[in-house]
Every structure is written in structure tokens, then in C-alpha cells.
Symmetry: C2
Subunit: 438 residues, 2 copies
């Protein structure tokens, strides 16, 4: 657990917005507190590519000069560096992007800014949100990865640099780093949040999501991002299904044990919890994800590879090659698998059940050379399902674990209530973690 | 010009909402007036696949029972039948969809409903929003196509069945039918409006848009769809570029003459108008569109073709074959063309210029066997640019012509002001069209 700073940087979205509503907090104070925390901590953490302190303070002062009516007025946030912020480069952690400057805000950024939120800067991504890591460290243990590809967003939120940050997910890029950093992650259903102004990786999978430290904070921001109400009162007696995904076989035994212990706590608190699986096609989902994603990544990078391929990583170039070599038959087979598994999800949706798995295969791995395994997240990216992770205690090394909740219903309106229930139960029941010096 | 009905069905969005604000119109009256118009007119026009009269009236009565605060409270709208409405089939004008029922509203529908708008039903689309026509007729001349693929939305709005309808565009499916039916069409920039709940045709091109009879009405609804302010006051002195697209060579001479006459009227009214072209890559844009779209359409329909291909049209199957046969090199070349033309658009964007072309190659063609030529619309779909069409007088057969405006700036915030200017000028200057009996 990270030492929460006293004052505004340590506070959550809802808490500060409520204090602002009653007139006791200036937007410039909120922004300044976050900037001070970044200044103090980011030389070691490396969560940020670029901090726009002058722009953020100017925006905050302008908000302070007018009557506060915007729903997120003054909220400081970070933006993953594959999403456009007007006037700043969208660097994508790639030298091929040198000289780029975004002409306009991405739609998701514009929406938050219109609601009064303030861009603090751009957070570190892996190369083009694929696998090649950036320099960011896990705030709970600097020898470990924060996860990726939304590495900087997760680390910055967990380390109290900002209360919320925008992310993306194509495989497990929002949920996995949130779990590794002990925070809340939300990947909306595919197509829910507008993607205008995103540098696409695999367009039929790419989703814009967010990181926050509390579910209620995530819901408050999701409400603006999705332009629909997202109540996050804990559900009274949610119905859960522990889903037998093949990726569970890749889990550390301790992570599985923690997951089963969490299920018992949920049941003890009044939830219905049952085990269930999916038809045998579920065994082919991961191959299907790789097939669809590689074909789309190949398309996304065809031009750049031809013009400037030597400056892309070997891993990205190899994945493009894989996509190029994929046959139409293989793609059709993958899509048939997806269609059949989506069909099988209907039964859970009709019964009002929310699916549960661990959010990652274990604690954040040691080393910054890779960002961990997204095998438990990829199925839900492929199936276009809305997913939340909430903190679920710690593992044997004292690092965070996460619970992953997925709502198979297309409206995905049970997700936040179920996640709020789980957040409250698991926070209560988890052992109090050791304070770790940075 | 269609005989506008007296009363609510003939009125526009802004007008009725203002009358509702001051308390003189019930939502149920507005919905009932539209239902009556549909009942009277649609047996001949065939704009609707399904009208949910009971559901719409129930929703309207519920709105009447509560204080009206929602921004679009009571607004009746149609939904193109490739977009999900909870509880109704999403038929896509294909027998392969028999038995489908949508479990949830598409995000765009949910957004309008949350703002108080009322779904009247589903409007006719071509087969899966590709080329095979539905039964809809042009309300200005029943022997002619209304255009497509958003055939029913355009015809229903033009014939005063509803003041607004949701559409999609992958090539020219929003702009062309709007022009043929003499109404306003808006295709937002790619990625701006969430696509959750859309049956995709070519995901990197598909955009959700709308039809309305007046630009101010389109802006009022776009504001909710895009969750951002869309002021539509006419720009004071807009800067226009008449863009030399290759598709102009396919225009009827009379349509070109009307376009040039329109340019003169815009200049006379205070706009700056100049002619300009694009680099020679513009000649390859249309091939690039076909390449990208066919590859994506092949992917979208791989599974359905394998399972149920005999019930898809020959034209769709042939296009899938074309996509399957497209090489990676051809795709890379297409993407390079797109990148270079996008680059060339920057100069116009920086200068604050809005691009102009005719919205279609002429009046709506005779016959219902095809929906006309989208050659002037496809470039802007491929380039991900926001586009509006406004009515621009009539052609030699007395049928509507449209002006197409495209804003090359990613923020696309000049588009509505420029379009409002053009709408006002061209409505003033156009010859008064002949009344046509239905």
C-alpha cells in the first residue's frame, strides 16, 4: 500500500468534488497538489511522458474565476499517450512519432474537459499500446512492472499523482495494470466510449477506459465519458459466476487461493456465487484473439512499417508479420469461435449474473522488461464485454491482487453495483497491507 | 417539395421543443401526430420496417407524467435497422437475421432516450447497409430511389414522419439519401459517436449519423449524440474551398451548374470561396476506399457466409470475395494513399477552410433497383472527416440537390456554422419548387 499523501492529492474524485461543491476547495489548489506530488515522486516512478503544469494551472485558475457548475470542475486527470490532447504530442512511446502535435482533443478528452476536468499531462504507454515497455515502475515495488500497456496511468493513479487517468485496452491493458498497482480499472463495453483521436492498435478491439482509486470515483468519471448515468451503489445481493477460463491454468496457486477466499467472502456477505464454464470453444478464444488482433495490427502498421519500420520494435514487427501471414480461413474460424462464445454468454446475461475471475495471474512480476500476462483479460476484450477490476488483497510478496468482474449483458448496467459490492467486501476482509517505503 | 402537414408532424425539433418548454405541447401529442402521419403515408412510401406505436405512446405518456427537464423530452425519432433498439429485432434487411431481438439499446439510442427522445421504430436499410436496396421510395417521386443505405431514415424525415432519424455511413449512406430527399444529413467525424450496438459493415469506416429537415434540428440532436455543445448559428463570413474531387467527373452537367451557381450565391452573401485540389493521390482515393472497405466487409461476413451464405445477396458475396482476394501489399498501398491525402488536408484545416462539393452526382435516379452513386461521399468517409449536407435547390426534374460541406479539422467545430450559413443562403436563393402530389 502506498502512503497516501495528506491533503488533496490523496483524496478521491467524489470527495473533492463534494468539498468543492460546498465551496472550500479551489480547482487551482487541487491541480497544484497533484503537480506537487508528481514533482516529488515522478523522477523515480516515471509515470509521465509530459506534464503540462502551466496549461493545467491556467485551466484551473480559469475555472476558479467562474461559477462552478460543471460536473467534474477542477478534476485533474492524466491521459495515456496514445490519446490526443490538443497542442501536445501523441508520442505513443515510439521515435516514429517525433514532431507530432495533436490538432484537437480526442473525443474522450474533450468530453472530460467540457465537464470541467483538467488535463495534467500524458502518461507512459508501451510502444503504441502493444508490448514493448516504457520506463514506468510499480509504485508498490520499483523493481516490478506496473503492468501495461497503460503503465503510466496505473502508476500515476496508484501513487496519488492524479485521482483518475484515461487508458486503453485491446488485450488486458487497463485491467492488468490496475490489478498490479492495487487500483480500480474500468474497460467499458466495446464501442461505448468514442474513440475519435485515438491512435488505433486493433480497431475492432480497442476501447478507451480509465483508472481510479475507488469504484465510486471511476463511476463518476464514466458517467461523463459515456454520457449516461452510472450509479455505483453496492448491489444488495449480486449474483456471481466464477468463470472457468482456460487462463486460470496460468495463475499462481496463491492467486487462485486468494480468488477462492474472495469468493467465500462475497458469499458470506450475501452474494450468490456459483461455478460455471463455457462451451469447449472457450479453449480457442485466446488463439482467436491473437488471430483477430494480429490481422488488425498488421493493417494499422502497414504504412509505418514501409516508411519507418526500422524504428519499430522487433516484437511489433513480428506481430505484424504474424497478421500478414494469417489466412482468411483462419480469420473466419476465429470469428466463428467468438460468435459461439458470445452466444453462450447470453444465458448468464439473462440470469442477471456477473462473471468473476482473478484480474491477473498473480502479483506484478519482477523486472521492467515486460508487463506481465493478460491471458485472463483478453477473452473479455475479444467478446466486447464491459469489465471492472477492484483491489482484492495482496499476494505472498505483499503486492496487490485484483478481482475481475465482467457483465455479459450488452447494457452492462449491473457491473458497477456488483463491483461496488465486491470492493466493499474485499476491502473490509483483506489483511491490512504493510506500508512500503518508496 | 413535400406538402408539410399542419401541426406537430410538420414542425421541427427546435420549434416543438421550444413550444414544449413553454408548456403547450404534450409529448404524447407529438408522438401521436408522427404516428398518424406514418399511418397515412407509409403504405406507399415504405420507410419503416417496424413501428412501435404502443411503446412510443407509453414512453410519451410517461414523459408527460413527469416534470420535463430532459433536453429532448418527447422528440420522436427513427432508428436505421442496423442499430439495436432493446426489445426489437435488428433486421438489417436480411433473412439471415430472422429471430433476432436486441437485448439492449445501442449507445446512440440510449443517449437519445436518456435525453427524453422516443423511439418510433426501425427504418429501412439496404441489406446490412451495403448496396442491395429495400422497398423504400423517394417521397418526392415514388418512381425514384430515396438513396441508401439509410433509405428509410431519409424518406421518413423528408416525408414528415419524424423530425429526425439515426443513420450510418460507410461510403455515402447518410449524405447521399439526404441530398436525394432534400433534407439535412450529418456524418460526424469517425469515432465521435459511440458505435456500441451497431451491426458493423466495415468497422474502420462505419459512422453513426443523422437526418433532419433543418440544420438547427440536426445540431440539437448532435449535441446529445456527441455529448458536446454544437452551436449552429450561421458563421459570419465562412471560408469555403470548392474541392476538385475526381468524382465531379461523374456529375450531371446540371448538378455541376447548380453547384457553381450555389458557390456564387455563397460568395455574394459574404463567404470567401476559392477553388482548390489535392495532390495526385486523390485520384487513387476511390480505389483505396474500395480496398479498405472490401477487406473489412470480408471480415465482417466471413462467419455468416460460411453458415448462411446462400441467403446473402450476390452483390454482398461478390464484395466479400473481392476483399478476400486483396493482398496485403494492396492494403498497404491504400493506407499510404489515405495518409498522404490526410496530410494534404492539414493546410485547409489550418486556414479554417471548409470544403464544398455537390452532395451527389445529380438528382435521385429513376428506379428502386439501386440507390445511386456515392462517389462524392466516399472520400470523406475514408478520410474520417465530418460532413454535412444541406438542401441546395432542385435539378431539371424538379428533384432536390444537396451541397456537401466537409470540415478537415479534427475538431470539426466550424462545420455547423458554415452549414447554417449555406442553408440560409441556398434556401433563400433557390427557385420555389413545384408542389408534387404523392
Amino acid at each position: 500500500m502506498i502512503d497516501a499523501p495528506a491533503g488533496l492529492a490523496g483524496a478521491g474524485v467524489c470527495e473533492v468534488l463534494e468539498r468543492r461543491r460546498t465551496g472550500r476547495v479551489a480547482a487551482s489548489d487541487w491541480v497544484a497538489a497533484c503537480l506537487a506530488r508528481i514533482a516529488e515522486r515522478d523522477a523515480a516512478l516515471r509515470a509521465w511522458v509530459r506534464v503540462d503544469a502551466a496549461g493545467a494551472l491556467a485551466a484551473a485558475c480559469a475555472l476558479d474565476a467562474e461559477p462552478r457548475t460543471a460536473p467534474l470542475a477542477g478534476l485533474p486527470f492524466g491521459v495515456k499517450d496514445v490519446i490526443d490532447v490538443a497542442g501536445l504530442p501523441t508520442g505513443c512511446n515510439s521515435p516514429t512519432r517525433a514532431g507530432h502535435v495533436a490538432a484537437a482533443h480526442a473525443a474522450c478528452v474533450a468530453r472530460l474537459v467540457a465537464a470541467g476536468a483538467v488535463v495534467l499531462g500524458k502518461t507512459v504507454t508501451t510502444e503504441f499500446a502493444f508490448v514493448e515497455p516504457g520506463p514506468t515502475r510499480n509504485p508498490h515495488d520499483p523493481a516490478r512492472t506496473p503492468g501495461g500497456s497503460s503503465s503510466g496511468s496505473a502508476a500515476a493513479v496508484a501513487d496519488h499523482h492524479v485521482p483518475v487517468a484515461l487508458t486503453t485496452q485491446t488485450g488486458g491493458s487497463t485491467i492488468r495494470p490496475a490489478a498490479y498497482c492495487g487500483i480500480v480499472g474500468y474497460k467499458p463495453p466495446y464501442g461505448r466510449v468514442p474513440t475519435e483521436g485515438l491512435v488505433y492498435l486493433a480497431p475492432s478491439l480497442d476501447v478507451i477506459g480509465l483508472h481510479a482509486r475507488r469504484l465510486a470515483d471511476a463511476a463518476r468519471v464514466a458517467e461523463v465519458l459515456e454520457a449516461r448515468p452510472r450509479p455505483a451503489q453496492p448491489a444488495a445481493a449480486p449474483r456471481f459466476v466464477a468463470l472457468a477460463l482456460p487462463g486460470l491454468r496460468a495463475c499462481d496457486p496463491s492467486a487462485l487461493a486468494a480468488f477462492r477466499a474472495g469468493l467465500r467472502r462475497l458469499a458470506d456477505a450475501g452474494a450468490t456465487v456459483r461455478d460455471a464454464g463455457l462451451p469447449e470453444d472457450v479453449e480457442r478464444l485466446d488463439d482467436a484473439h491473437r488471430t483477430v488482433m494480429s490481422v488488425e495490427v498488421a493493417r494499422s502498421f502497414e504504412t509505418l512499417i514501409a516508411a519507418d519500420g526500422a524504428r519499430l520494435s522487433a516484437s511489433l514487427r513480428a506481430f505484424v508479420e504474424r497478421g500478414r501471414a494469417t489466412s482468411g480461413d483462419a480469420l473466419a474460424a476465429a470469428q466463428a469461435v467468438i460468435a459461439r462464445v458470445r452466444q453462450a454468454l447470453h444465458a448468464f446475461a439473462e440470469d442477471g449474473e456477473v462473471l468473476l475471475t482473478p484480474a491477473a495471474t498473480g502479483e506484478a512480476p519482477v523486472g521492467l522488461h515486460a508487463t506481465g500476462d493478460s491471458v485472463l483479460n483478453r477473452p473479455f476484450s475479444l467478446l466486447h464485454v464491459g469489465v471492472v477490476t477492484v483491489p482484492a488483497g495482496t499476494g505472498p510478496a505483499g503486492l496487490p491482487l485484483g478481482l475481475q468482474l465482467a457483465d455479459p449483458h450488452p447494457a452492462a448496467d449491473r457491473l458497477f453495483g456488483a463491483a461496488a459490492f465486491a470492493e466493499a467486501v474485499l476491502a473490509r476482509a483483506a489483511p491490512v497491507p504493510q506500508e512500503r517505503a518508496q
